[in-house]
Symmetry: none
Subunit: 124 residues, 4 copies
């Protein structure tokens, strides 16, 4: 798998790494039990700090995407994609309800909110 980082963005490096690895797992580019590059190796290849890589890996461990095996390395965890999607959709619903409340306070219609959403998609 190919990982890369950009210095020309406000997104922290470890977040960039997390996003890519998460995506790779969800798109099945990385499969269960696949080993991730070692912290030192990735640090060298991308010319970034060891701590930064460690931070990304640790976060992903916390999120349940990967597991750490002491002395061996980090490996892709078994993911229940269905459950993952359900949780994500639930989170999105919650955010939408918050938005709905905020929107009603400033009299924004559904169409205006959708237009804002399209804008936010184009930005990224």
């Amino acid at each position: 798998m190919e990982l890369y980082v950009s210095m020309h963005t406000s997104l922290p490096i470890y977040e960039q790494l997390k996003d890519q690895i998460r995506q790779a797992i969800l798109k099945k580019d990385l499969l269960e039990n696949d080993q991730l590059p070692s912290v030192r190796r990735l640090s060298k290849d991308l010319s970034i700090g060891i701590v930064t890589v460690k931070r990304a890996y640790d976060d992903l461990v916390n999120e349940g995407f990967i597991i750490s095996q002491a002395g061996k390395g980090y490996f892709v965890n078994k993911i229940d994609i269905k459950r993952f999607k359900t949780l994500h959709t639930k989170k999105i619903m919650e955010l939408l309800e918050t938005i709905h409340k905020l929107a009603s306070e400033v009299d924004l219609t559904k169409e205006e909110v959708m237009s804002l959403y399209t804008q936010s998609k184009e930005k990224s």
Copy 2:
């Protein structure tokens, strides 16, 4: 101003009060320095607990809509409605970006998110 609460809704009483007072201020039914009903008075009039009224008032103080003067009462604060709307829209944009990120992780299309939003509107 007329305030009322309904027991036949899932919306907490203090949220109902907050919504009504917030709207009254935004619609200029309540003007700067207007005094709100005292906590005890409103508690009696609506047959609800003192703490419930206070909870609503305190939240509105936190949101900057009203101010409290110990020993005198609660009063409508000076609000820059334009600034308020700008901040609100900005907050909505941020939430939409978070949603966009989450949605891309589970391959939800714009249309599917829109449909979820419509659902969340219908619930309330």
Copy 3:
């Protein structure tokens, strides 16, 4: 973590709790995702009312330090301490500008304002 409250101070109990928990998070004694004592537990341990504990926790949720998960408990939120300090300093600057305006209206010199600040420090 050890929490305690004193009845021999004018500082409200919930403010004492908030201060201690906030400091613990900022000093990294409490880390992301750490669980706080349950409302009932802390209420019993400190011999204070449930509502008082909840008031402290809810305020900290509002400030973004912790999050609540219904049915599970309160947990330390992900905090960007740098950003937090920047925002705090900005807020202080704004207050100082307000003070500056007020001070100029009553011809208070910088030294007199400084002296008032020292007094306010001694009170607490």
Copy 4:
């Protein structure tokens, strides 16, 4: 008395007017019962809207600096400068206490806060 407004500032025009008139009264450039320029006159002289002038005058009436006499105009009110100073100093003390609390949360020393104050003075 000379009044002027600048378009090259973020401060609303009516705030600029209020500041100048308040200052004039406190510096005794305007004395009790002095008549202010009529709303229409000032609006023409400064090439600003009637509503803007009215807004400034009304705010000053609210603050107790001037009074409106229907059909005659606006006049400087009797000001208890001592009381005014006391109230202002009290307000400043409150703001300083808020600052003190914020400062202690981010470990800012008294000296650093004072330095920020000096900066805010230089900006204006």
